[in-house]
């Protein structure tokens, strides 16, 4: 038997978890440094391209580790030599800096790897459907399972680092009381550098596992750029758990939405109202759920901003 609902849910969750991996770094950087990093999606793309290149030389598994490390270094350098210098002029120049950076990265990628897609493939070990789900009549790729495991592992380790380690405590303290932490002898600018590098590495990791699940091409940063902002705004700016919930919500919403043929007309019919094609709003009402599904996350964004501007689990009131 083929269980469509369960299968849809699995796809929705795995897509949501990828979104979470992307949003986690962004929301961490924002909550700790107050920087809205527009280049975040470009780091995601860089992660995918690095992983592609490294997997040609070393294989997929070393690339899975090496690409995020490279992104960490790049992120730290960007913070040290770019953002820190711009920081003293305030948040708008920081924003513009990351915005410009995103364009430069896209152009660089096109110069190095060309404008067309590259053949970054799922490793053979993870190619094919999950056997035990197959027995239940659900075809679900092993690679998506792997993607989910990586995302959950990532959430757990971030949480552990932030709450159970010394560096995590320093980071948390530096957020709210930077002067005091500095007075205690900690190097706060270095902490910021680590956070920015770490956030970039998380984006890189998302790129490594997302690049071959989908397509690695120069437009990939643009296609996720907007949706990641939706995730962190809906979840609440700076809230890791909020981003997790929002990402799952959006993943499921999009997946179930796309598969549904439900229309406004059918709703009215169920209520006993029959409309003719010349009725007002008929063209809008006849749109199916699957046609409007890609807009649903943005609709959610607007609704959340009106009803609960700080997001689902946000703490900021301003």
């Amino acid at each position: 038997m083929y269980d469509a609902t369960l299968s849809q849910a699995l796809y929705g969750v795995s897509y949501g978890l990828l979104l979470f991996m992307l949003a986690a770094g962004l929301t961490l950087i924002f909550s700790m440094m107050g920087v809205l990093n527009f280049a975040h999606a470009s780091f995601y793309m860089l992660g995918a391209y690095f992983a592609y290149q490294l997997s040609l030389w070393l294989g997929f598994w070393p690339a899975l580790v090496a690409a995020p490390v490279l992104l960490f270094i790049i992120g730290a350098l960007v913070e040290r030599w770019g953002l820190r210098r711009v920081h003293k002029w305030g948040h708008v120049p920081e924003l513009l800096f990351t915005f410009g950076l995103s364009y430069i990265i896209v152009e660089l990628v096109q110069v190095i790897w060309g404008r067309a897609a590259v053949a970054y493939r799922v490793p053979d070990e993870l190619d094919g459907p999950v056997a035990w789900l197959q027995q239940m009549g659900i075809t679900f790729p092993q690679y998506r399972m792997f993607m989910m495991a990586v995302a959950i592992g990532m959430l757990a380790s971030i949480w552990l680092v932030l709450t159970r380690t010394r560096i995590g405590l320093v980071i948390q303290a530096a957020l709210t009381h930077p002067q005091q932490v500095e007075a205690l002898g900690h190097n706060v600018p270095q902490v910021f550098m680590l956070v920015f590098g770490g956030g970039s590495a998380l984006a890189g990791l998302a790129g490594v596992v997302g690049g071959n699940a989908f397509v690695t091409e120069p437009a990939m940063a643009g296609t996720v750029g907007a949706i990641v902002f939706v995730v962190i705004v809906v979840g609440g700016m700076g809230s890791l758990v909020g981003a997790f919930i929002a990402a799952l919500l959006i993943g499921l919403l999009e997946n179930f939405g796309k598969a549904s043929d439900f229309t406004g007309l059918k709703l009215l019919q169920a209520l006993g109202v029959e409309l003719t094609p010349d009725a007002a709003l008929y063209p809008v009402l006849k749109l199916t759920m699957s046609q409007v599904a890609p807009v649903l996350p943005y609709l959610l964004l607007v609704v959340i901003l009106i009803v609960r501007p700080k997001g689902l689990l946000g703490t900021r009131e301003d």
Partner: protein, 429 residues
Amino acid sequence: MIRRQAIAWFAAASMALAASGALAQSKAAAPAPPVAPQTVKIAFIDPLSGPFAGVGTNLLRHFQFMTELVNAQQLAGPGIRFEMVPFDNKASPQESLTVLKQVIDQGIRYVAQGNGSGAALALSDAIEKHNERNPAQSIVFMNYAAVDPDLTNSKCSFWHFRFDANTDMKMEALTAYIKNRPEVKNVFLINQNYSHGQQVSRVAKEMLAQKRPDIKIVGDDLHPLGQVRDFSPYIAKMRAANADTIITGNWGPDLALLVRAARDAGLNANFYTYYAGVIGTPTAIGAAGENHIRQVSYWHPNITPDYPYEKMMLEFKKRFNEEWYTVATFTSLTVLAEGIKRAKSTDPLKVAYAMEGVKLTVPHGEIEMRATDHQLLQPLWISSWTKVGGPNRNDIEKTGYTWKTEVAYPTYVASQPTSCQMKRPSRAQ
């Protein structure tokens, strides 16, 4: 008064003559001297930046490569050289019109465009108006890839010439093929939600109903252009609907992602596509599409026994390390050169009249620029994505896969009637 009547009569007569393809009268009336050696500039208006820049730059190279060939063989006559002048329209109809003004200002009289029927419709309309107001600076529009049938039907223009087969013609070939495939029972249509995708969906339903009324359309989805990252929900829907055949006009990432999602989910269905051969898509499809992808096109690299254009393709690959696949860049310049040769002039009006009804034998078969609507008639192929080997010798994008002929349709099969009521300008100016 008499003079005006004479002109009107002359215009009517030339229309009739042009329709029958007879050009003898104009030749006899004005024996033109041989054309002076000169450079004919052709404006290339297509995206050279933004998400579709990859396709645009690749096609510009196609054209530049082809002009070298035309110039070396002197196809347009001794001393006549073609030169491409690139303009970036950023894939936008609005931007195309801005660029057209520059083209006019620079005195360029021939325009080539292809990526996007939206831009093509805007250009065709603007050129028609421009030529009406400024007959002395008329412009000829060579559309090498925009496939909206309207361009050669309700919105046809004397100045527009199309060198690709349009949506209707390709669907005619696809459905002619499906007609003899009893395994096709449940068809699912998935297309991008804009003019091209909507047309594919509409024509597919019409033609299938005619040829195979027993086939069930189990789904008809339109999704936003270039926005969908995860196609798995659509695939789940296809599976739930028991679809065995998918028909799609999707191109670029929208096609690649669709095919990969289908393979990941283990969907056992065949894809009938328009654009699986466009640069970048074969790489993204790779092994995922083996024996599951079919394509309708006016050429593919393994047409036995003659392998038309193979030498050209290999040389292009060697030089640019990119695929060569748009034969329309060859046919458009060849027909233009033939027009110039027949008109014994590079004047757009004379060349446009001379190109009407041109019949040529080119490497991939007989082609004809139909005079009634300026649609090029040419043979079509249905091919399937298969491992390189044997007669299917030309690897595509180093994937190890390539196209294999399923059926070859001669020119007449896909020819569709036209509703074009063409307004022709006066021949004499």
